[in-house]
């Protein structure tokens, strides 16, 4: 007898089908600025692609009746993977077919239906990984398998006719510089914040009054919106640079990297100090006593016992800092710090939404990559079972 055993995947498939039915898969415009004409999936996909996608959609709907298990998971995963490849292929061939050498200004962008299908696929993959109870390593493998063809197709130039790729090609060297800048901002913030935050945290565990005051100040900083903190740096720093011109030779000015880094470090301190304090507080008193009893000096205990035990918690704080800074660095572009935020705000200003995506997509990918890296680190740090 047919019984619905799994309704999540069919619902996601239904949403994707509804998106295909009602929204444009690609959007074609005579130039970069005017809004494009939406083109439905069946208008841009080749007949073979359309038929294959329809069969896959029916198949995914039918998974509702399958008993969950390893085999079902594998079949479902393969079907999702095939759908992903077909969707990307349809976008690639569709955009190539729309390209017209006589109208070089014409633009083909990915439409809302494309993005909704992609979102549904992402949710389906996440659900699959959750249901199968995959380990961190297996999840990483799945992510690589899913991302590899996307990267491969892009490297082979399949998407070159899409507006997003053209925005990239128009500024590929600027893009490399933006990536470098963004990574530099994040790495420098993490490094400076860690070298300040961990000692502050250690000091705070020994001095309760200092601890209370420090947290009060850091909480206020964390509450103030980033753009306000960036903005408030401009005045003092530019008057400093005016009063002491030699500071300017060090790169200190009202706008640019210096105020951005200072503000980013201020934000990063709270998670680091909080986790250092939490981690050190959690070291059992008996462990410290044992170390004292074995004749270790306080400095030795801190370095060889307490800090190693607190390390996983401090690492979790660093993870928060890095993810948070990747996002805040986007906003820092508003005060001339560069990075991917420059594309975002330039694109918003010019109403060029593919340029916005050129800033947003790498930012999100960077955040996801760092988060994944920390998951792997944390999983490796756990005792083997």
């Amino acid at each position: 007898m047919l019984r619905v055993r799994n309704w999540v995947l069919p619902v996601l498939t239904g949403i994707a089908m509804l998106a295909v039915w009602s929204l444009g898969f690609l959007s074609h415009a005579p130039n970069r600025i005017v809004p494009g004409q939406p083109l439905p999936l069946w208008a841009v996909a080749s007949p073979a692609q359309a038929v294959a996608l329809a069969i896959l959609a029916v198949g995914l709907l039918a998974t509702a009746f399958l008993q969950s298990g390893r085999k079902t998971g594998l079949v479902t995963g393969s079907a999702l993977f095939a759908t992903l490849l077909l969707i990307l292929a349809a976008a690639a061939t569709g955009s190539v077919a729309l390209a017209n050498p006589d109208v070089p200004a014409a633009r083909t962008s990915l439409g809302p239906a494309f993005w909704l299908i992609l979102a549904a696929l992402a949710l389906a993959f996440v659900d699959l990984a959750q249901q199968a109870g995959l380990s961190t390593r297996a999840r990483l493998l799945l992510a690589v398998v899913v991302f590899a063809p996307v990267v491969g197709m892009a490297m082979l130039g399949w998407f070159d006719a899409l507006s997003l790729a053209r925005e990239y090609r128009a500024r590929s060297d600027v893009f490399a510089a933006a990536l470098q800048r963004h990574v530099f901002l994040v790495a420098a913030t993490a490094l400076i914040a860690a070298s300040l935050g961990v000692p502050l945290g250690i000091w705070a565990t020994r001095h309760p009054r200092f601890r209370a005051r420090l947290f009060a100040v850091l909480n206020i900083v964390q509450t103030v919106p980033s753009i306000a903190l960036f903005g408030l740096m401009i005045g003092p720093l530019s008057s400093l640079a005016e009063a002491f011109p030699w500071l300017r030779t060090l790169g200190i000015a009202g706008i640019g990297t210096a105020p951005a880094l200072i503000a980013l470090v201020c934000y990063a301190l709270l998670p680091l100090v909080r986790n250092t304090v939490t981690g050190l507080d959690a070291v059992p008193a008996a462990t410290i006593d044992a170390a004292l009893g074995s004749g270790m000096r306080p400095g030795q205990i801190l370095l060889q016992v307490s800090l190693p035990l607190a390390f996983p918690v401090i690492l979790a704080g660093l993870r928060v800092v890095i993810i948070q800074t990747i996002g805040l660095a986007v906003v820092a572009a508003l005060i001339g710090a560069g990075g991917f935020g420059a594309f975002v705000f330039q694109g918003l200003g010019q109403n060029a939404l593919d340029l916005v995506l050129l800033g947003v997509i790498p930012t999100i990918l960077l955040a996801l990559a760092c988060d994944t890296a920390f998951s792997v680190l944390a999983a490796n740090g756990e005792p083997q079972r």
């Binding site: 309704w7 103030v224 753009i227 903005g231 530019s238 906003v331 939404l353 930012t363 999100i364 955040a367």
Partner: protein, 241 residues
């Protein structure tokens, strides 16, 4: 509630009110501070209107997100919705790695420029911490407590309203607080996509090299953020999150 607990809130509220009264009358001060600027006082919209618009954005988005997010969190912790729990938790965790500004920029292609896009972006992003904390809070209620309630003949609804939600309330409230504070910041950036907010003078000042506008917007929005944070601190045990 004692006056002592109310003190930080009253202080921030008085500061905000004072700024709203004094800033429009501070042209001379800003002239003295920024002698090179012709028009050192933001006058395109009144600071009061900007503040109210900002509050509306944050309140509307956070309120709607609290309603939807807590309901979703309740649904996935019931028998009927349990199948969705792993998916929703994982999505909320992954989604929180997305920068709020990215979510804001992504709503523009769909909804166009203006306050609407900002409101939707704030709503979507605010859902994540609220859902995550609602699930954590409800799942954190002791099994024995639930069994005791069942043994006393509580209906599932009564158990939810009188036992589970009150016990989970501090964690849920912390999630709403996180969302509200993030939203105050993202609403500020919302001015880059055409929303009227306290970010308007900041963005205009940054693009027109008018540091005075930046300072005026930044001081107000920082005070507003601290006031909202202190208000939430009243609801929790009074300590900062």
């Amino acid at each position: 509630m004692t006056l002592r607990a109310l003190r930080p809130v009253l202080l921030m509220a008085a500061l905000l009110a004072g700024l709203l009264v004094l800033l429009p009358r501070s042209a001379l001060l800003f002239h003295a501070l920024f002698p090179s600027l012709d028009r050192p006082l933001y006058t395109r919209a009144s600071f009061l209107d900007l503040t109210l618009a900002h509050i509306r954005l944050v309140l509307g988005a956070t309120g709607a997100a609290a309603l939807v997010g807590v309901s979703a969190g309740i649904f996935v912790t019931r028998e009927a919705g349990r199948r969705l729990l792993p998916l929703l938790s994982a999505t909320a965790a992954i989604g929180q790695t997305f920068p709020p500004v990215a979510v804001l920029a992504l709503t523009v292609p769909v909804l166009g420029y203006g306050s609407g896009a900002t409101l939707v972006a704030l709503f979507v992003y605010a859902l994540l911490p609220i859902i995550a904390n609602t699930v954590t809070g409800l799942e954190g209620v002791e099994r024995s407590t639930l069994e005791a309630a069942d043994g006393m003949g509580f209906t599932p609804l009564r158990r939810l309203l009188q036992i589970e939600l009150p016990l989970a309330a501090p964690v849920i409230l912390a999630g709403i607080r996180t969302s509200a504070i993030i939203n105050v910041g993202t609403a500020t950036v919302g001015s880059t996509v055409g929303a009227l907010s306290l970010g308007s003078p900041i963005i205009e000042g940054l693009s027109g090299s008018n540091t005075a506008y930046v300072v005026q917007g930044a001081i107000l929005v920082a005070t507003l953020a601290l006031l909202i944070d202190r208000l939430f601190a009243l609801g929790s045990d009074g300590t900062p999150a």
